[in-house]
Symmetry: C2
Subunit: 307 residues, 2 copies
């Protein structure tokens, strides 16, 4: 099964303790699409400017990613600048030039309408809801959001959450969304807002999936995937989107979504996130093999596996 | 095999969002001893004052804990007051009255000399080293420390670290001790200071054990135990010492210390820590059954177990 991702394609300028890069291909939809492409066919809905040329297009094409949903607008592509000097876990935003992304109105190509899996990357919640409503045949919708929308567009976000199956956010976002500092209690409050499952990404500690009672017919015991302790974190940008790509891509590649498949998806999410941070931008995600992915999946599995 | 713990016995006054308690039995050695007592015979070396009476003694005796190493000095027992109002993960210390603990000189009863497992709870590093040197027959020594000694007694701590097998500390302490913010790199730096293994406690995210190359004859791949997401954290006091008690107690109960045993010990550490925080003070640790411990071990195991 294929998966559609709706989100940003961007040029990023990043500084980390490992160095600096300028105007490299990034954006949530890019990281997601590359990560998911190792598992299943991927289709992108995004907007780019005139500075997005054959070189960038080739990155998607080389991974068989369908770019018919990438709209080419006049103007410049979204640009973001961030640095991780004091804290590798949180970017300090240096600049955000929305450019063509400012008036982004996602258009779903007719050819995408048979897609069964949809991922709404971190964009304005009303746009997320619009896309979800336009994709009637979708079987499972994943969704990301961020503090900016949780505080600034809470009502709109609440409407969107009623339309999604799996929400993927981090610890801080979960607590902020729920207004509750205890993580499991916060998780239950978020699940009461609509999603069947909530994936909380803990960064270097892995991720936990909480289920609404009876969701997917699998009971409600949470499941946790550990993360690999990584010695060389070059650039954390896109780790969460790569996680989502691994998670959704693996789900879409399976015949059914049951507890065991969701557990494995959580591990594959962690695997793809851990690869993403090893190099600047999408460099590592562009050059992976399925064998490397499988090998790291085994390492993650053995990290907590008791005989 | 029995385990000796050297550390504090105290009366704690604690405030958390769940309430307040005054002058309840606490101290690192107390939490450790109770947690370890479910796995193996435990012997305590500590000092108490005249306010430590039959009621407190009974808590140890009821769990078959050997208290011949608890010295009764004239004066008051160590008292600590702390609160967790804004942050359940870190206590704000309200007062520390060292009392008889100020001049604590650990004395090891002759009857303890055949003990093979030793845990040096968080006390002055020179005292820890003295105890270790006095216990010649010891096969495995575990050790705790804290920021106060890492910054204030670094040289003394470095000497102690050469004498211990397993150091159990948290993320912040590891990074501070190593002078390195990347956790796996910090872990390797700490291992180079002496310990064969380093257990890093991540609080609600579990714990990771890093091994020095060739230590215990088991290679050097780290292993991680997840923690259960806990909805009701009443009082985090003693969680780390209870973790150490479960870890060391389980190790001491096994015929040999190999990779699989160390992995299971890490899980049992997490299990005992998770029980400790469910009630104020040592209340939950006093009332456990081995069946409850085994059941939670299974829950922890299933939390990350793939078919």
């Amino acid at each position: 099964m294929s998966v559609v991702v709706v989100g940003s394609v961007a040029f990023d300028t990043i500084t980390s303790p490992s160095g600096s890069v300028k105007d490299i291909l990034g954006g949530a939809a890019t990281y997601f699409a590359l990560a998911a492409s190792y598992f299943t066919p991927v289709r992108v809905v995004a907007v780019v400017g005139e500075d997005f040329g054959p070189e960038q297009e080739k990155v998607f094409k080389d991974h068989g990613i369908d770019t018919r949903g990438i709209e080419h607008a006049s103007g410049k592509t979204f640009r973001w600048g961030g640095s991780y000097i004091d804290n590798l876990n949180e970017a300090k935003t240096n600049f955000t030039d929305l450019n063509v992304f400012q008036s982004f109105q996602p258009r779903i190509p007719q050819e995408y309408q048979d897609t069964e899996f949809l991922f709404l990357a971190n964009i304005q919640p009303t746009l997320q809801a619009d896309v979800r409503r336009k994709m009637n045949g979708v079987r499972l919708t994943g969704c990301d959001t961020m503090n900016y929308w949780i505080t600034g567009a809470r009502k709109e976000l609440a409407e969107t959450l009623k339309l999604v199956d799996v929400l993927l956010i981090n610890d801080t976002e979960t607590k902020m969304l729920a207004g509750e500092t205890n993580l499991p209690r916060a998780a239950h409050k978020v699940l009461a807002m609509g999603p069947k499952a909530l994936v909380i990404k803990h960064g270097e500690y892995g991720a936990t999936i909480f289920f609404r009672e009876g969701a997917f017919g699998i009971g409600h015991h949470p499941f946790r995937a550990p993360a690999l302790p990584i010695e060389e974190v070059k650039d954390p940008t896109g780790a969460g989107d790569s996680f989502a790509g691994g998670f959704m891509g693996y789900l879409a590649s399976q015949k059914q979504v049951n507890r065991e498949v969701l557990k494995r998806a959580l591990f594959y999410g962690g695997v793809m996130g851990s690869f993403a941070v090893e190099r600047f931008g999408t460099e590592r995600l562009q050059s992976l093999t399925r064998e490397e992915i499988n090998a790291r999946f085994q390492v993650f599995r053995e990290l907590t596996h008791l005989e």
